[in-house]
Amino acid sequence: MFRIEYRTQRLSLRFFMVMLVLFFFQTALGLLLSAQHLDPTLLAGTLNFNVIRTQHLNLAIFWILCGFIGTILFVGPLLSKRELAAPWMIKFLFYALLAVVAWNLATQLLAQQGIAGWWMGQPMFQEGLEYLEAGRIADVVILIGFAILCYVVLRTFPPLKQWNEIHWGLGLGVLALTLVWVFGMFFVERLDLQEYFRWYVVHYWVEGVWEVIHISLVGFLLVLLFKADVKSVGYAVFWGISLVWLSGLIGNAHHYFWIGTPEFWQFWGSLFSALEPLPLIFCFWHIYLDAHQDSKPIPNMPAFAFLLGSVVLEQVGAGILGFTMTFALTNVWSHGTWVTASHAHLALFGTFGMLGLAAAYYAVPIMRGVTNFDQRPGKLAFWLVFTGMLGLGFAFAIGGTIQVFVYRTLGLDWFGGDVGPAMLFTKAMVPLFGLVFAAGVYLIVYDLITLGLREPSAAGDAVQVPALSGWSRHLTGWETGIWLLGMWVFGALITLGLLSFNLATVQEGSALIPYVMGGVGYPGLLLVTLFFVRRFLSSLEARGHAKVVPLVSAAAPAGAT
């Protein structure tokens, strides 16, 4: 299927290209932030840390949204069996998006002068709230953009009676995306109430809306990649979305432990957000099932690698690392430290970022009409960003564990004199893994932007199908279960490590127990993740490349059961 079926699908290409550019800049700013952590005087007064961090967060949101929009525009006509409604609106959406990104880039700099642009009680230029830093002017434009997306998606979809679960997921997803955004559009005097509503946007976006869009899109990409049955995937999508919303609605309470809201939230938050990994396990299991419904070769390995990465990092970053700090008794320690940054990086980039990249790797070759593209840069780039991100998660988690001990247990609050030096080694690891990650990003961006435009590489013919043994042998459901169990065992160890900060011996100043448990738990979890993905991909590689070696694989069907 190396051609597009509907002309308007091509509109997704520009969103994928902008996604790549923003992703590149976001990564560069992340590297700069890690350098500022090592040398806080770097660019201080010129480009302060808070301004760069704001861009790092906002660009992350922007490029993930670009990935979503691109993917939705690409699959929308396929789901609806007709062209997209109102293509001119999509073009307008595109330019509005570029304008908002540029506007936000400029206005955030005003924070250095303390200019928020107060007008009628609202900050027009920038409002200095984490993740919602955009000022009111940008907020309104973004709201209009979401409304356009809703209109296009709902007008393109067939009548309600013909909707399958994927239509429902995407339809509800884009509507909720718009609705939830409104809660971040007003200035709130009380800090507790402001934080309460801020998490409506942040939590319900990632755990309500984005997750739903993610499940729906993963489901449909599996249909496209594996010709899986829409009905069976649809069922997984239905249960996935139900579980996400049933656990995530009250699960938001895990953000209401310490912001000035009553103690009872600790009970509700601990209970319901402990259920939040369930839909992720479900999703994890489904990608295994769909990838193994037959033994046909995977035509587009980079796309599948990023899709697998998305589901696995969702399990590890959002599911397991989220679970470790979701209980009031562990969260009281992890809250406000680098421990949470480890979860945030793996979950946000892993789950949502990798989905956009998977979709781009699937869609861009089709739209550029490339039948046989060199998949090696894509695969190498996947390993670079995947390893880099796991490494970043490791550095943040270990740094965070040290930070909890020095900052919370010992009560030392001099970041320049006590806390910073104690974390120095892990602070140095961040740019190190960041460079690995950035190399991967550069490769992805170069590969996808020039795909089909640069000189075709002939080296693709030399790819050898590995033998069906060792890492490449058939991956059974049992073995997958064991890998998953391994991840959760290390996750449990991390949870107990955080819990151990409550022990009297730790509170008396001995860091031994949490350091040992974190020191085993985090690398254990991340290495199991790394090796599992290697195992999964190797077993699929062994099926051969349908496009690359059509005759050989036809003569010797690899991996036929």
Partner: protein
Amino acid sequence: MSCKPGELCYEGVKRRRALAVLGLMALIFVALSAVSFLDSRGQAVPSAVDYVDVDAVAGKRVFQAYNCMGCHTIVGNGAYFGPDLTKLYDHAGPAWLAAFLPSAGSWPTNGAVKLQLQDKAVAAEAGADTIEAYLEKYPAAAERVARRGGQTSHMPNLPLSRQEVQQLIAFLKYTSAMNTEGWPPVPKVDGLTFPQATPIPATVQKAALAPAETTAVAPVSATEHGAELAEENGCTACHAPTKEKLVGPGWGGLYGSTVTLADGSSVVADDAYLTEKILKPDAQVVEGYEAGVMPSFAELLDAEQIANVVAYIRSLGEN
């Protein structure tokens, strides 16, 4: 997990059931939320918290305008580049904050905090008149002055006006008054007795060298004494010995130069002008600077000490 192709899935029924359970959960959530913000709970609200004569709502606007959350955390949310600010007012007190915020690039010295206590309103808010009583009441301020005083901090100088500083302090007073359900946890040990509290090597060196120098030089010239006074009283937090502008103008080459004032007139920076600036900083405001940022040293330094500081500034100007 799926119904086989061709079978009836009863999708409509299942969707409705899922929505019903979701609705029930939404009801629970809304009920819990409504109870959370009742007045009867007694949670602090910013409109009811005043500091001197500004309220905490104005402070929250300043807090957001400078994107403080982009480096610090508040109730644990934000960035992890600097420390959490929720309970800072309780720990370090208003005088320390008033000394720190206008020149955040360097840590306040004993003298700088003492100077803030000269302000009756600040002293009343702090509940301490003397620096000794203040440092006893706010141990975190004592620890900060003793360990960090005079050193450069990792925070950039921000163009905060005097009013914005007061508003920020009001906001931090409000967050300190909030009931955050026991977060952050209170340490059970004195962290300063642990090896993690060892000052960074450069600081140790500096601290070890400093007393040796002062004992070696017995008679101190006016210029040297002025330099010491400038450091002790926190002048150097805002004024660099070079031409560089930190918060106020740099002292390098200042003496004898012509200064343009805000009203357009100009004046030569001589002894009389500089003495006047130290005593009544807002009498002649220099172009490009705001009134009210620099405090008056009238109650802290006597005539001879001011003369020494002026002598020090003169020595920096002779080039």
